[in-house]
């Protein structure tokens, strides 16, 4: 019927018109936003609308870098693994279940920026980006990268001067350490991440870079993997002068090396004979494993251990 078709056409036109008006209107309502584009450690170019007022950190090292540059007050939530500074421990926790966080918890904090590491699965990062929440992934592999990551954070949070101050402080400290130990012959070191199998740190890992900054020679440097398993025979052959045992391994005291059932193999190794074995407590282990402002303590501790005569 002709009347019916006409009715349909009219309705269609009205619907189209309304949608267009609403769209144009919404475009006009959007304010112009100032933003900054930075590149994170995964090479992702991220556009961050400014100013950044609410930050969620999904990893202790990011939390520490934020506080380090003086932007800690922007943090609204962190993780249950955060232990420094004490203010950070009082913040609401984004539920960290074995290294992953729930997107809902993050969104509930209404952040304008989320800081993550590669422990979080990429899907969570993608999900947040899709919800228009910018995510920066930081994973420094050595101290220089900590410096550049902190400078980036400084730019993003308008704390450039704070970042510069912290970076210079760290640089000076490290240089001081290096000059004190430079005249001594380098000490070979085994860093034990786990005893059986003997996981250690290799080239490309952050801890390995701390060791070399502290003037140590990592005996696992010939292995081409950041977290390799080193064979006992290599340890016997390389005969390290010092051993550092990370916290959380089953090896908690010197009896493992002197009287345990593996002891005959360790018997002739310098580090065991001279008792130059360092067992890290939880805090010290955190210094080694969490890149950030506290890394200077890590370098100091290792240098102190390797070259006690220098300090």
């Amino acid at each position: 019927m002709k009347a019916r078709s006409v009715a349909y056409i009219v309705v269609a036109l009205v619907v189209i018109a309304s949608i267009s008006i609403i769209y144009v209107d919404s475009q006009k309502a959007k304010p112009k936003v100032e933003s900054i584009t930075v590149t994170d450690d995964l090479g992702r170019k991220v556009v961050i609308p400014l100013p950044v007022k609410r930050i969620v950190s999904m990893d202790p090292s990011n939390t520490q870098m934020l506080y380090g540059i003086g932007a800690g007050n922007l943090l609204v939530a962190d993780t249950s693994y955060d232990w420094w500074p004490s203010n950070a421990t009082k913040l609401p926790k984004v539920e960290m279940d074995n290294g992953t966080a729930s997107v809902e918890e993050v969104v509930a904090m209404s952040p304008n920026l989320v800081l993550a590491t590669t422990i979080q699965p990429l899907q969570i990062i993608d999900q947040l980006q899709n919800l228009s929440i910018p995510v920066l992934v930081f994973e420094p592999a050595n101290i220089s990268q900590i410096y550049s990551d902190m400078m980036t954070l400084g730019n993003v949070t308008a704390h450039q001067s704070g970042a510069l101050k912290e970076v210079n402080f760290m640089k000076t400290t490290i240089q001081g350490i290096e000059s004190k130990i430079s005249s001594y012959p380098k000490v070979s070191l085994l860093y034990m991440m786990w005893s059986n199998p003997m996981y250690t740190v290799g080239p490309g890992s952050f801890i390995d870079s701390i060791i070399s900054d502290a003037g140590g020679i990592n005996i696992a440097d010939n292995l081409s993997s950041p977290y390799p398993v080193i064979g006992m025979e290599q340890v016997v052959y390389d005969n390290p002068k010092a051993i550092i045992v990370d916290n959380g391994t089953p090896v908690t005291n010197i009896s493992y090396f002197k009287t345990g059932n593996q002891a005959p193999l360790w018997h002739n190794i310098s580090a065991v004979q001279n008792d130059t074995i360092l067992f890290l407590n939880v805090t010290e282990s955190n210094w080694m494993n969490e890149p950030g402002p506290l890394t200077v303590y890590a370098v100091q501790m290792v240098a102190d251990f390797l070259y006690p005569q220098a300090f």
């Binding site: 074995n98 290294g99 786990w194 996981y199 292995l223 977290y227 390799p228 064979g231 052959y237 059932n261």
Partner: protein
């Protein structure tokens, strides 16, 4: 046929000895052959030797090499028993639930205290096997069809439990992962002692039953009519095999493919009959595992789990054997 089979057995024994010597000279630390020989000579004459080299050779490499040989033999025997009793060419020693049970035990161990891993792995492996046997009992005699299904189901269940436990403390993932994929690191002479005793138990046992195993290939009904006490043979061999495999797994983790592939290669060499297969299968297992472990402990990335290497070696072999069987 009889003559050539004997030759195979003897050749394999020599191959194993040769393999041992070669593996002794390979490792992350390069020790020239002349040094190895002189060290061995001096050591056996009780003279002073270079401590570093002696320690590496006799306290690190040799116990590990011996362990590889023993475990390879155990898996070769277990795999053969499993394939024959279940009449399943894809049978492996873990079919009754050993591996998943052990995984639960190990996972709990890594959660609580890594020193408990071997004991817990063994206990839970036997628990899983026990449940499989209980589920599949019918009229007193072991029902092999039911037992396979029971073993698979129990494995699924225990794997799920193990995965969950591992997830609870995922920080320890590296230790657990290495164990799950199998590793002979940290092998000591006392490990060798216990496992050798285990081998001394299972090896004569399968030799004793080799006639019965041949006849049982023809099926329970025929075997019974020929006079074989099939119930007794099945129970004794399967339980022994599960027990022995559990002990092995508790010490070195889950090493795949050896138990599956060794009997097949053995059959290609000496035929179907268990008369020689009971010697050949374990010898082949020993050699494959020895080669795999030598590779596993000497990669440029450091040491990798041996289960990865056996998978790389085993799968092409398996594919090739199945392909040849198709063509027949």
């Amino acid at each position: 046929m009889k003559v050539s089979a004997n030759i195979f057995v003897i050749s394999l024994i020599f191959l194993t000895l040769f393999n041992i010597l070669v593996s002794l000279s390979i490792g992350p630390v390069h020790i020239p052959l002349n040094q190895i020989v002189s060290n061995i000579v001096l050591y056996s004459l009780h003279h002073d030797t270079n401590w570093t080299i002696s320690t590496i050779l006799f306290y690190i490499r040799l116990p590990r090499i011996v362990l590889a040989v023993i475990i390879g033999m155990i898996l070769g025997v277990s795999g053969l028993i499993t394939q024959t009793i279940f009449k399943n060419p894809l049978g492996d020693p873990y079919l009754t639930g050993v591996s998943s049970g052990a995984a639960v035990g190990a996972a709990i161990g890594f959660l609580v205290s890594p020193f408990l891993v071997p004991v817990l792995a063994f206990i839970f492996a036997m628990v899983a096997v026990g449940i499989s046997f209980l589920i599949s009992r019918s009229d007193g005699e072991v029902n092999t069809e039911m037992l396979i299904l029971a073993g698979v189901s129990v494995s699924f269940l225990f794997s799920a439990v193990a995965s969950y436990i591992i997830y609870l403390k995922i920080y320890n993932l590296r230790g657990v992962l290495f164990w799950l994929l199998g590793g002979l690191y940290g092998a000591t002479w006392s490990d060798d002692f216990y496992l050798f005793a285990t081998l001394l138990f299972i090896f004569p046992l399968i030799i004793y039953f080799r006639r019965e195993l041949d006849i049982m290939l023809m099926g329970d009904e025929q075997a019974k009519s020929l006079g074989v006490d099939t119930g007794k043979v099945k129970t004794i061999t399967l339980i022994s095999s599960s027990l022995v495999t559990s002990i092995a797994v508790s010490i070195v983790g889950i090493i795949g493919f050896i138990g599956l592939v060794s009997p097949h290669i053995g059959r290609k060499l000496v035929g179907e009959s268990h008369r020689f297969l009971v010697f050949v299968s374990p010898l082949i297992g020993a050699n494959i595992l020895l080669v795999a472990d030598t590779i596993a402990r000497s990669t440029p990335q450091g040491e990798i789990p041996v289960g990865i290497v056996t998978a790389f070696i085993g799968s092409p072999v398996l594919i090739y054997l199945l392909y040849r069987r198709r063509k027949m």
